[in-house]
């Protein structure tokens, strides 16, 4: 791909001793530069992790996990509402996204070159590139507007769409790693396709699929943008209070569940975002504590699932 004049100059360089020295120096300098750039990219990672731990650990206490927020300007209190909200939202997201994602991945892995298979794989890639704020607008139109109010349900749907492509892709790749003879053995023994998929292929790929789900959950639990106008936020959200008042007024289980899922909720990243914009130092401090909890969760899940995934993958490949 080099032009002919450049190749000629290369030949001349190659023939002279000075040229050889110069080429060797260029080589070492450029290789060192790539190493330095790698270190440069690691600096922000270390900086963020260390600083968030340093700030967050000062403001984490039991109340942070067990109490509702106090009114503005009054120190103390916690973010129980956000922690419960995050759990509700991610559970809903998992519920909505995991079953269809795994089914879609089975299709994409077995019919990769059929028109629908190509379209599904392509849409998965495209969907993972759609800005999450747009997914927020979509769920606003899809759930919030018809319902007439913000809700945990809408937020759960939004996070499910965020998780969906992540799970499809990891599941699809894990299914492809399952050795073909295993499938063939099952089919040869007379098992139907669906039986082979469910009782041979999926169990063999299960660990990888769980990795994908965990990575998806980690991603969803850190998302803020799609929740801004779906889950909205709710400083008084407390599952305990809802259940207590529900039991006191003798509501049925379904009514209580509806009140848990059908009200606006907060989540840790949403709280972090709102608190960071407020001029009250105790709120900013709690934002740091929330950042620490969130980051610890995301990083632990990421590292653990990658370690696990790697071990399983090499096992499956027989290494």
């Amino acid at each position: 791909m080099t032009s002919s004049s450049q190749s000629l100059s290369n030949v001349r360089l190659f023939q002279s001793k000075a040229g050889f020295q110069r080429r060797k120096i260029t080589n070492s300098v450029m290789l060192a530069v790539t190493g330095l750039l790698t270190i440069l990219a690691i600096i922000p990672l270390v900086w963020i992790i260390v600083y968030v731990i340093y700030k967050g650990i000062q403001y984490i206490n039991l109340a942070f996990f067990t109490q509702l927020p106090r009114p503005l300007g009054i120190p103390g209190g916690g973010v129980l509402n956000a922690i419960e909200g995050t759990i509700v939202l991610t559970s809903l997201a998992a519920l909505f996204s995991i079953p269809p994602a795994i089914l879609a991945a089975i299709y994409a892995a077995y019919r990769p070159n059929s028109p629908l298979g190509i379209a599904a794989r392509f849409s998965t890639d495209v969907l993972s590139g759609v800005p999450t704020i747009i997914i927020g607008i979509f769920c606003y139109g899809l759930v919030v507007k018809p319902q007439g109010h913000y809700s945990a349900l809408a937020g759960g749907v939004a996070l499910a769409i965020v998780m969906f492509p992540i799970i499809v892709r990891t599941t699809e790749e894990m299914i492809k790693l399952v050795p073909h003879p295993m499938r063939e053995a099952s089919l040869a023994l007379g098992a139907a396709e669906w039986k082979t998929s469910l009782s041979v292929v999926l169990p063999a790929a299960a660990n990888g699929i769980i990795t994908g789900i965990l990575l998806g959950l980690a991603r969803a639990s850190g998302e803020t943008a799609p929740l801004l106008f779906t889950a909205l936020g709710n400083e008084n959200y407390s599952i305990g209070n809802i259940v207590r008042s529900g039991v006191a007024s003798q509501q049925s289980l379904i009514e209580i569940l509806k009140r848990i899922l059908d009200t606006p909720v907060d989540s840790l990243p949403l709280t972090l975002y709102k608190y960071s914009q407020q001029p009250f130092p105790e709120r900013v401090n709690q934002a740091w504590a929330a950042a620490l909890v969130l980051m610890a969760f995301v990083l632990v899940v990421n590292i653990a699932s990658r370690l696990y995934f790697q071990r399983r993958t090499s096992q499956l490949q027989g290494k």
């Binding site: 599904a120 998302e223 980051m295």
Partner: protein, 336 residues
């Protein structure tokens, strides 16, 4: 072979019977998994359709003027006039700044990880770079507001304002002073550059890994140094894949919301300068959508979302096509 198709013992009927028993329940199963596959397709189409229909009023009211460059930076919910050029400009400028910084860094990482790194270092380093992508956007924002802006952006910004800001043409983009808080387009661009580096680096590394070993061996055997092999053989070979990685990173920068919203200052000023606060498409949606009571206002915001969606969609499709081309050449699986 006898052709007695009615006999229960004919080969054909036995075949059908075997197939029926063995594949019992397969058709509903394929319908089920096929429907799940269609669901992904429907989601992408549904997002586009909803953005299109829900912005119809704004589209008819403002038409193409909505996103064309204009000196009249008008976004006024009180007078119900909405022109999105300031947001588009903010999104483009911050993403371009991010790309200019992230590109060389990511290339360096990819080359180091794929070509030079000792095997034991490759995986941990790769993971560390990928962890950068796992940290939630709001945490970048929080760190940005309280650490990165005062310590890095303000000094760098004032320096740029005093140097490049004095040169006639460049002063348009580097006119100071940078706000004391550091909130500016430059801040958003710098944070974005950190956030998109792992995206570009990971895909570029995979592209390098997909290049056949024979290419390297041939070049080294001809007497080229390692750097010459990388820059004159591997880079041209993987160029379209690397371009795909860059476009992918650019797309991520365009759509990134929270970190940008937290550090860009969210204000519409007449200035083009990087050192002044600005606004992006995603941050205006994040800030105003929940409070937009006026129908035209919320439709205008959805219109902004539609433009953002179409841009990122096209970029994504283009990028994946480019990466897929490299992978096809080498018959290994690389997906962006």
């Amino acid at each position: 072979m006898l052709k007695t198709s009615d006999s229960p013992l004919s080969p054909r009927s036995i075949n059908t019977r075997i197939r029926k028993t063995l594949h019992y329940g397969d058709r509903p199963w394929f319908v089920l998994v096929g429907m799940a596959a269609v669901l992904i397709l429907l989601l992408v189409l549904g997002i586009g359709w909803l953005l299109w229909t829900d912005s119809s009023l704004a589209r008819t009211a403002f038409g193409l003027n909505f996103f064309l460059p204009t000196s009249n930076a008008s976004w006024n919910p009180v007078r119900d006039v909405y022109l999105s050029w300031p947001f588009i400009y903010g999104t483009l400028m911050t993403s371009i700044v991010a790309l200019i910084i992230a590109l060389p860094v990511s290339l360096g990482i990819a080359i180091f990880l794929a070509e030079l790194s000792p095997a034991w270092l490759r995986q941990p380093l790769g993971w560390m770079v990928e962890l950068l992508a796992a940290i939630p956007s709001v945490i970048y924002g929080l760190w940005g507001i309280f650490v990165f802006l005062p310590l890095v952006v303000v000094p760098v910004g004032s320096f740029l304002g005093l140097t490049l800001g004095q040169i006639p043409l460049l002063s348009l983009f580097f006119k100071g002073p940078i706000p004391a808080s550091g909130s500016s387009r430059l801040a958003a661009g710098l944070i974005l550059s950190i956030m998109i580096t792992p995206t570009i680096a990971a895909v570029t590394r995979d592209v390098f890994m997909a290049i056949p070993q024979s290419q390297r061996e041939a070049s080294l055997a001809l007497g080229a140094t390692r750097w010459e092999t990388i820059s004159q053989v591997l880079l041209p070979y993987g160029l379209s894949g690397i371009l795909g990685a860059v476009i992918l990173g650019f797309g991520r920068a365009l759509g990134e919301t929270m970190a940008v919203t937290m550090v860009i200052g969210n204000s519409i000023e007449g200035t083009l300068s990087l050192l002044r606060p600005g606004y992006t498409m995603s941050s205006v949606i994040a800030n105003e959508f929940a409070e937009a009571v006026n129908i035209l206002h919320s439709q205008a915001l959805i219109y902004v979302g539609l433009i953002l969606f179409v841009i990122t969609l096209l970029l994504n499709m283009g990028a994946r096509f480019l990466v897929w081309r490299v992978a096809r050449k080498t018959s290994t699986e690389v997906r962006a």
